[in-house]
């Protein structure tokens, strides 16, 4: 193969990978809206009175600590919102049941215990705040 074609292929490869990464990052802050009521897996005593942020992690999740810290801060400054963390490392059955394909995955659970939206990946802070506002029905965060 002539070198210029090889260089062209490499340039296209880098560009496509960069576009893919950018698109993946954008999608992480776009939640999927759901209305699941299967909640046996979430103990009642960890639920917040207004809403619960549930973070799913594994031991092999590099970006989970960062998300956990951000969600923890959000839960602290938002009235009646708690953070619960579920480690899926040894709970593959639960991951299957909840259709979780990657970690971190974040669920926003409302006061009745229904999963209202889910983020796959690392969400932006304002995207979580917006979902909390929607789920709680009024802006209560600082």
């Amino acid at each position: 193969m002539p070198p210029w074609i090889a260089v062209l292929i490499v340039v296209v490869l880098v560009a496509m990978t960069a576009i893919t990464g950018w698109a993946l990052r954008r999608r992480e802050s776009h939640p999927r809206r759901t209305k699941t009521t299967d909640l046996e897996w979430l103990a009642a005593d960890v639920r917040g009175p207004n809403a619960t942020l549930v973070q799913f992690s594994t031991q092999m999740c590099a970006r989970c600590p960062h998300v956990r810290r951000m969600l923890g801060e959000l839960a602290e400054v938002t009235d009646g919102v708690t953070l619960a963390e579920v480690d899926l490392t040894h709970q593959s059955e639960l991951a299957k049941r909840l259709h979780i394909l990657q970690t971190p995955t974040v669920f926003v659970v409302d006061a009745t215990g229904a999963v209202r939206s889910r983020f796959a990946g690392v969400p932006r802070r304002d995207a979580i705040t917006a979902e909390l506002d929607r789920v709680i029905g009024e802006p209560t965060h600082a």
Binding site: M1, P2, P3, I5, A6, V7, I9, V10, L13, V14, T17, A18, T20, G21, W22, L24, R25, T58, Q59, M60, C61, A62, R63, P65, H66, R69, D87, L88, T89, H90, S92, A95, K96, I100, L101, Q102, T103, V122
Partner: protein
Amino acid sequence: MPDAPAGIDPRGPRFGAAITSLLLLVVILLGLTGLSTATSTAAFGWFAYQPLSSHAFFPTAFVIAAAPVGARILDPAFLLLLVIALLFLWGVLSPRTAPWGVLYRKAVQPRLKPPTELEDPRPPRFAQGVGLLVSVVGLLLQLAGVPWGLPIAAVAAFVAAFLNAVFGFCLGCQMYLLLARWGLVGRRAAA
């Protein structure tokens, strides 16, 4: 996690991934211009190249299929990917002493602000194992004389390394949950 090992600066693995992705780009260039993808007109040899003649009349054959194993190994793309695979192996066996990590801690980290948070070293280590696996598949395909095998494996490894370096995505880490769901890892009792 009570047994979690001491945290590492999360920028270290991304620095290593940046170097690895550059090296993999070189492997892809070498693979595309070298033995892995080279073709020849089977019946007439290399001198039969005639710009005006249609290729349809001269069935092309991949040079690698007929090349001796020694030539497949001495192909520059193979040698460089072998070096990268050995570096991946080093990262799996002893992440603390792996060259890019040492280079980061000695030359880069002192010039940066201290990290705002530390990261579990196990996910990047697992990802090194995934990189090793993909590289070894590329090397084996080349040894078996499969055309395009080595560059395509290098492309897969490059995509993962580049997404890690530039965007902080760790595909190997994300695969971990899928593997666990399929029951391939994580079935041992929690330590």
